[in-house]
Symmetry: C2
Subunit: 342 residues, 2 copies
């Protein structure tokens, strides 16, 4: 890898279905020079998330889609290698929208600011993108603020071996709930029960998954933390209790299509379910509280942080498909550069 260029993935075409490498141009640009009030950041890790797929499309979404020809948007962790700003010291680790590239510029304004990670944290750096970062905060606020689980209630989470789902289930266990996860394959199902302490797992790759779901939720479902949408969501909603809550975090099963993500609304009416879509930034004002709690749980071993690391920026476009194929466990990360060498 050349150190004197800035490799960038620029979006060439909006993917149809599964993401293809030909949807991007990998270009070698000059390393940018930070102006006054800016710093140059070397990307160390990229966080791969379902929302990357949304940003590549022009569907109705949270933020403007990535424009064709622009550097692919993505969250990550970097290290400051040059600084013309008192906000950043050389050697600082920072988090923010690094983009799918080797280098980026961090500034002091709302739209280009990056967060400096405090030194001496009792958790691994990569956990700051996972269980202690945006992923963990998504689980924390979605479950606790919108799901409002009470001890003894049944919490169900789909994509349960994934980055968000695995944290949701563990927090629900900490809060004294019965926790049921839906995951694909025997390995993942064993993992969430044996390693993460879920009470039951439903393997959606088995033909009898609906019967498993019924058997695993004898008292119905009080909180459904929804990640996948589609047929699984409908089956789960059919098990939801009167006055139950449904934080709608994602509908990953629909992101590779351009079809409306339709499902039956009648359980909402008949069972008086509260459904609320959200993204983590809705809870920006409470980040510090959530991050402190998550770091404490990780540091004390109450919250297990699982990650899948793929080496090399060049593999980002293929690696992101693992999220949709059900091939990864925990937080999916691309290592762009070795932190020990920067």
């Amino acid at each position: 890898m050349k150190n004197n260029v800035n490799r960038q993935f620029r979006l060439k075409s909006r993917p149809v279905g599964r993401i293809k490498t030909t949807d991007f141009d990998l270009v070698e640009a000059d390393i940018p020079e930070p102006a006054q009030g800016e710093a140059l950041v070397r990307t160390l890790y990229l966080s791969l998330d379902p929302t990357n797929r949304i940003w590549m499309s022009d569907m109705d979404q949270y933020m403007p889609p990535v424009e064709l020809g622009a550097v692919m948007r993505g969250g990550g962790i970097g290290v400051v290698v040059k600084s013309n700003s008192p906000a950043y010291q050389v050697g600082d680790h920072v988090t923010g929208l690094t983009g799918w590239q080797d280098y980026t510029i961090a500034g002091e304004k709302m739209d280009n600011r990056m967060g400096v990670i405090p030194k001496g944290l009792p958790v691994p750096l990569t956990a700051m993108m996972g269980a202690c970062g945006m992923t963990g905060l998504t689980a924390y606020f979605g479950l606790l603020e919108l799901g409002q689980p009470k001890a003894g209630e049944t919490v169900l989470v789909s994509a349960a071996a994934g980055a968000v789902g695995s944290v949701v289930g563990q927090i629900a266990k900490i809060k004294g709930c019965r926790v049921v996860g839906i995951a694909g394959g025997a390995d993942k199902c064993r993992y969430i029960v044996e390693k993460l302490g879920f009470d039951a797992a439903v393997d959606y790759k088995r033909a009898d998954w609906k019967e498993q779901l019924v058997a695993a939720t004898p008292d119905g479902i009080d909180v459904n933390f929804e990640n996948v949408g589609g047929e699984i969501m409908e089956a789960v909603m059919a098990r939801m209790n009167l006055f139950s809550r449904m934080p709608l975090c994602g509908m990953i099963s629909g992101y590779n299509t351009d079809q409306p993500m339709r499902a039956d609304f009648s359980p909402i009416l008949m069972r008086r379910i509260q459904v609320r879509g959200f993204i983590v930034t809705d809870f920006f004002a409470k980040y510090a509280e959530g991050a402190r709690q998550l770091a404490e749980w990780v540091a004390t071993g109450k919250l297990h942080h699982e990650e899948t690391i793929v080496d090399g920026l060049e593999n980002a476009p293929t690696a992101v498909n693992r999220l949709f194929d059900g091939q990864n466990m925990g937080k999916l990360i691309v290592r762009v550069a070795d932190p020990a060498q920067h």
Copy 2:
């Protein structure tokens, strides 16, 4: 009409599609004798509501479906004609589940108690089933508790010329909102704007209704009080704003089918909409507050109470179809007996 029998509509078969008279047996039963702690109530008015159709079916619902062979369930107003209970005086007007019959027994227990209407109310008796009764309370709590409209926001209501919708829109106007109603036909659209004071109407019977909807909601929609479901609901949701609210009161367009009531969930996710299904009894503890406020608005002319009255118990099964055909304005009522003669 014979006065010495109790005519009853008993459910013979679960309707398929539109309700047919052959779905019921009209039988002449003996007038029941009230036991100690009970009263005999002569039905004066029946309230016809979309929920009647739900109760006839065996879909997943709020209450158990009406069993085949049982008297059709329905709300109404009656007068006490015999009493063996200190809770009821002969001549009292009462509200509750009279059923589709001439006479019923009111008791003192939770499951057969009826509410005594205070004497000397400043509103017509029938308003106690409509704007000042369950219908009005449905509008009041759904809009104010779940919709949380703020002055200046845009409130949209479907089935806007109906019993609930017409009250929703008027309360939203009292609260200082821009109010848009969806209704079928020029007469209803004129009525909700000219008589009820809505800011705009969308006529769903015109081919350009989607364009009308866009034109009527230049600032999007902050509260969608949902009554109809289906294609109209999807079009409305596509206009809803970030952090908007959607009290889900009904999906009348789906009640005559046995299909799942599917619609696109993605606006909930992307726009972080809060959707909550409800029925009026969810707010039982606050009924007195709501009823007092509604009666004051009706008595002072701020809230217009519209009703369509059909004469004769024998017409109940055909009259209820008007709710689904879009043929009625305001509260749909069957007059079973003349209050002046009882």
